[in-house]
């Protein structure tokens, strides 16, 4: 049933949003769970809270030079 399928939003700007509790298996086999109504999974690879998004995908600027700063 389509209604029973989990809703997933690929934001394209940063995280992937998953509706409902999730059990995430990490590359080393450890499992992390989140029981939030919506979980934001890091898709940019920069999060220090992986597998969860910590907004590290955001653009960083240095105001004195007005130019972009590396991650």
């Amino acid at each position: 049933m389509a209604e029973a399928r989990r809703r997933v939003i690929v934001t394209g700007e940063g995280p992937i949003l998953v509706y409902g509790p999730v059990d995430v298996e990490m590359p080393d086999g450890t499992r992390v769970h989140s029981d939030r109504v919506v979980t934001a999974l890091c898709a940019c690879g920069r999060s220090r809270h992986r597998p969860f998004c910590d907004t590290s995908h955001r653009r960083r600027v240095r105001d004195d030079e007005g130019k972009e700063h590396g991650p």
């Binding site: 919506v38 969860f52 910590d54 907004t55 240095r62 105001d63 700063h69």
Partner: protein, 333 residues
């Protein structure tokens, strides 16, 4: 430690003629009301008076009859105070209607920005962290409550998304995980008093003004766009700010239990940001595009008041002085 509604806070000390008169109205007296229009809109006297009027809609005060909440004498003076505060804000923040670029600007991390969380992360001292947390307790011990007032003023998708965020703020069914409870737990770890309202006398006008803006926008349906802008500002800026505070607390040797409140906000607000932008603001503005200028106003007014608080705290700390106004010092428990 767990206080019930019946253990509401006691009334604060007045800070001038207007707050003095408001406190006596709250006690049930009928004093001659002073002229309000000469008061400084962001000053100690007006902000405390307004804060006390609003507090009747939350937990009230021990000495104040709950019926004062809808007493026309209180509402009349509150309206005058609100008028002064709101028109000062309308004058001080530039108007705009481009919500998209306003939100985009909030999502850029300014590497060389310098606010309280940056200061605490790099070289703040423990007593400064304690003062910051004590000031913030005025909001966080009732975290999410001012924004909850907006729920009946929304409809359909924005209402559902906002309630999803609020559900998380209130612990998603587990009271021990409510953000106000995590905040109280952090206060305990830092040796601060967790009684609701304990730091009202210590908090300068700048801190009160930030909470007053939330109450003002939450309690007026006509300002619901501004409330949503204020709400978005918290949710969009909290995750990186919380990360800096986690680092500050680690550097200062705080316990893992003390870190939990800000650590939770790094992850929770990364989700809340998405829900607010996609779930609340986008459908709200497509249904009611005329709210855009007020959403921008809410964002800019929040940022304006937050910058005033940051300036005040850093100014005191740079001189090695406490930011508490009652002489109680963050250096002493």
């Amino acid at each position: 430690m767990t206080r019930t509604m019946s253990e509401a806070p006691t009334l604060p000390a007045p800070r001038g003629p207007v707050s003095e008169a408001v406190l006596s109205v709250l006690r049930g007296d009928r004093p001659a009301l002073p002229a309000v229009d000469g008061s400084a809109p962001y000053g100690e006297d007006l902000q405390l008076a307004l804060y006390c009027c609003y507090e009747l809609h939350y937990r009230g005060f021990r000495e104040v009859d709950p019926d004062r909440e809808w007493d026309p004498a209180v509402l009349r003076i509150r309206a005058e105070l609100e008028g002064l505060f709101l028109s000062a804000l309308r004058d001080d923040v530039p108007a705009g209607a481009d919500v998209g670029s306003e939100l985009d600007a909030l999502l850029v991390e300014h590497v060389d920005a310098f606010g309280v969380s940056h200061h605490l992360r790099r070289h703040g001292q423990l007593w400064q962290l304690r003062e910051y947390v004590a000031h913030r307790s005025l909001y966080h011990l009732k975290e999410a409550d001012p924004q909850t007032f907006v729920i009946p003023r929304l409809n359909g998708p924005p209402k559902a998304a906002l309630v999803t965020v609020q559900h998380d703020e209130y612990g998603a069914g587990a009271p021990e995980r409510a953000h106000s409870k995590l905040f109280a737990d952090m206060m305990t770890e830092l040796g601060l008093c967790t009684d609701y309202g304990a730091y009202l006398d210590s908090a300068p006008a700048e801190i009160l003004a930030e909470v007053n803006l939330m109450s003002l926008c939450g309690l007026h349906r006509g300002l619901r766009g501004a409330l949503i802008g204020q709400f978005a500002t918290i949710e969009l800026t909290s995750s990186p700010g919380s990360d800096r505070l986690v680092k500050a607390m680690r550097r200062l040797g705080c316990s893992p239990a003390a870190l939990r409140f800000y650590a939770e906000h790094v992850e929770a607000d990364a989700v809340h940001e998405q829900l607010v932008r996609r779930g609340v603001i986008a459908p709200l503005l497509s249904a009611e595009p005329e709210l855009a200028p007020d959403v921008v106003f809410g964002i800019r007014a929040s940022m304006f008041l937050a910058a005033r608080s940051d300036d005040l705290l850093l100014r005191h700390w740079n001189r090695g002085e406490s930011s508490f106004r009652d002489g109680v010092d963050g250096r002493k428990p």
